[in-house]
């Protein structure tokens, strides 16, 4: 084999390896986190009515009917919603179920009074870089993510959410 070709293959492989390594390290783009401005959610082809978030403290909760901790959080979220809704708090629970039938089956039993939206194509979940189920984001009156919660930890989650909601409502 010609020396030039050998060197070219060698160089190509090295560049390929470097690109692959860099790609694997930076594969996860930055999702939602504190200080992320939540823009227009209409762009994510969500099924359901998305309420106006400006001027209200909003908890966006990503859940699915197949996720036990997500379902365990619903009664507690209902309590939080009923407790703070008159002060300007709202919950938007975004279902990531791929089958609407499963989501409806759970909702028919649970009957939450807060807003439920279906992200059937999981576009918003992808944009938010959801890494744990459930994940929730507390958004202030200006539409900026202030607190992010990963997973559901029962009383501990309720306590911290309660304090954070109060803090944001007082601002």
């Amino acid at each position: 084999m010609n020396m030039w070709w050998k060197n070219s293959i060698h160089l190509g492989c090295r560049i390929g390896l470097i690109i692959a390594v860099i790609g694997s390290v930076t594969a996860r783009a930055e999702g939602w986190g504190p200080k992320t401005e939540v823009g227009n959610l209409e762009a994510f082809e969500l099924v359901g009515d998305i309420p106006e978030m400006k001027g209200k403290v909003t908890l966006i909760d990503f859940w699915a009917s197949w996720c036990a901790p997500c379902k365990a959080a619903f009664p507690e979220m209902e309590d939080l919603y009923l407790k703070h809704k008159d002060a300007g708090f709202q919950i938007v629970a975004i279902s990531l179920d791929q089958k609407a039938r499963m989501m409806d089956s759970f909702l028919n039993r649970q009957k939450p009074s807060f807003v439920i939206v279906h992200d059937s194509k999981q576009l918003l979940a992808k944009a938010a870089e959801i890494q744990v189920m459930p994940s929730s984001f507390l958004i202030d009156k200006k539409g900026v993510v202030r607190y992010a919660h990963k997973g559901w930890h029962g009383v501990k989650s309720v306590k911290s959410l309660n304090e954070q909601i109060k803090t944001l409502l007082d601002e």
Partner: protein, 77 residues
């Protein structure tokens, strides 16, 4: 000296090929685990099958137990 160079080149080529082939592996995102969390993914969903499997294992291995791990599940929290 010549043999060493060829070997080094082969390693680089093989590494490149390995990455090219296996970079196609997809990661299941946490919100895509609906099927994995399904009841049908559980290894202990059929009680009779579990008993039979346990009996066969006991006959072959002269021991029993050690199957107390959770199967399937969403791995949510």
């Amino acid at each position: 000296m010549k043999r060493l160079r060829i070997s080094s080149l082969s390693i680089w080529v093989l590494s490149g090929l390995f990455l090219a082939v296996f970079s196609g592996c997809a990661t299941v995102e946490p919100y895509q685990k609906g099927n994995l969390a399904d009841y049908t993914m559980r290894s202990d969903r059929d009680e009779l099958a579990s008993v039979m499997t346990s009996h066969i294992q006991f006959s072959r291995e002269a021991s029993t137990g050690g199957a107390g791990v959770g199967g399937g599940g969403c791995g949510c929290n």
